[in-house]
Symmetry: C2
Subunit: 335 residues, 2 copies
């Protein structure tokens, strides 16, 4: 089945021009328009299945929603999404919804009134734990395709690109165990979809290696450097012992590195530390932080590729999984 | 002159409801609508000067443009803008334009087709050095008010909220001089409006203290930790001496701290280091980084306050200046 790229190549005009023809833009000359339409006819091209009629409803615009652009992972995701959408000839705009359900609903409604070709929802915190509260997303998917980045929701017209958070944490925990660590502290910040996947990975690795899960070694805490530092120092002072820390976010790991210094523990000798997100923070600490990279660039590029495939009427899987990678620096020493 | 808050208070309904009445929303009951209209009549309220007719053109939506949401300063700004706009009853959406002029123009055009009440342009890199290239912004300001955050452009309907970058760098450079430092390296990343203001501050402080400006001590470089680290180590090895480093961005300062370690220099004894933006990175380094805080939260809140004042027909100054503050940590020791 031919797509917009084939039309562009065969007719010798840019994708933007093909899209202008589809949109009935007056900026295209009559000659160019006729040439493009002739190629479409020749190749048997059917425009975007979501555009009703000859593309007159397509705006070449995608709406993006994220809960909090000040989160470095989400901010990077938004940046790469925009770049990739532009490469594919799509404009985008972003709504930062915050964490309240009613605001998410209002923003989704707002975006739909702006006539977009599709929606990208970034970050698992956009999904509510109670499935009923996500009905408005399913409703939106009956109008335009919805792409979830790092979240999974079943429904017609809903697609997901996720990273393997569970596998990544399981794998690094296993490596810590193999390097001789027995009391591995797990720190996490949220019981969102991806937060729970990471925790699951930690527990799976312990189980697979015959280590009993100690509830004292699993801590849910705010995403804050100083708070983590004080919590860990406090735990240590009160007698709790641990020889490694796996964190669901780099900020927690920075706090752990500072706490180790307070407690007089050497890194990685006495304490190995692993962060998550491979953010800029990992390069600022001394020693530099080993961190799980969720490949936000690949994740974003894949989300855009899948969504534009849907626009072109291609079939894509409902869920695409991206593998994470461990970036080893100075806070770990694996055998 | 009464505004939307007065109407809300007097009629005992929320600002959102007043705004729905202004927008002719069908969600408001006839009784409430009549009450609100009666209060408007009583107080002699004139709606938003930019809404043509009885607010039927106001969408309670503001468009935001920024060049790069992956920049931590811009990402935080966008976050606080959204929060503040929502408090004032406005939705917002963001377009990340990248750095190319043509893309900026396209996005601005896109935003205007979405019917917004106003525009906020975030970051001085949105403005082009050549004034002619900014004509499209002046043109936009003839349709809706334009608020520049950290940029200045003269024109009807254009307003600015800026931080005093020049004053902040001048003041910290002066304090380094007073604490006995004579060879102060200045590192910066961009010759944007705010980049040049910071450089000006550095030069002014040297001049005011009778220190000759040494061109070898002023370096324009990419915004990258490792690159800065290598540059400084290289300069030191080649014989250049410096006893303080002032940076236009925290990432450069992180590189400087790492370079000091490579060179065997103690901080702050041999080398004092100052960053800019007071980002999370400043809390991750060891020693922790002294940094200039440009109060992105205040800057954003002020930008929104000014813009909503304009919506309500109030007169505001074309330029509002926010004072920065120095957050002292472990990389400086002032007398």
């Amino acid at each position: 089945m031919p797509n917009i790229y084939d039309i562009s190549e065969r007719s010798g005009v840019s994708i933007a021009t093909v899209s202008r023809v589809l949109n009935g833009s007056p900026k295209v000359s009559e000659a160019t328009k006729n040439k493009v339409l002739a190629v479409m006819d020749e190749l048997g091209y059917t425009p975007n299945v979501f555009a009703r009629g000859l593309g007159l409803n397509t705006m070449n615009t995608v709406g993006i929603m994220c809960s909090d652009s000040s989160d470095p992972f989400l901010a990077n995701a938004v940046y790469y999404l925009e770049q990739n959408l532009r490469k594919h000839g799509y404009d985008s705009f972003l709504c930062c919804t915050g964490y309240e359900l009613q605001n998410k609903k209002n923003y989704l409604e707002l975006i739909l009134t702006k006539r977009v070709d599709g929606l990208i929802l970034v970050g698992s915190s956009l999904l509510e734990p109670n499935d009923e509260d996500n009905l408005y997303i399913k409703e939106a998917a009956s109008h335009v395709p919805v792409m979830l980045m790092n979240g999974v929701l079943k429904g017609a017209g809903i697609y997901s690109v996720v990273c393997d958070d569970c596998g990544a944490v399981s794998s690094v925990t296993e490596r810590l165990i193999k390097s001789g660590r027995k009391r591995i502290l797990y720190l996490y910040t949220a019981e969102s979809g991806s937060g729970l996947q990471k925790l699951k990975g930690y527990k799976e690795a312990l189980k697979a290696n015959g280590i009993k899960c100690d509830k004292d070694l699993i801590r849910l805490l705010p995403c804050d450097i100083e708070n983590t530092r004080h919590l860990l120092s406090g735990l240590y002072t009160s007698g709790l012992r641990f020889d490694a820390v796996v964190c669901s976010e780099d900020r927690l790991a920075v706090g752990a590195i500072k706490a180790a210094k307070d407690m007089g523990l050497s890194i990685p000798g006495d304490l190995q530390v692993v962060g998550y997100n491979n953010s800029l923070l990992a390069l600022c600490t001394d020693p530099e932080l080993t961190s799980i990279d969720n490949h936000v660039e690949t994740l974003s590029a894949t989300a855009v590729k899948c969504l534009t495939d849907v626009f072109q009427g291609k079939r894509i899987p409902a869920k695409t999984i991206i593998q994470n990678a461990l970036v080893q620096r100075e806070t770990t020493r694996f055998q």
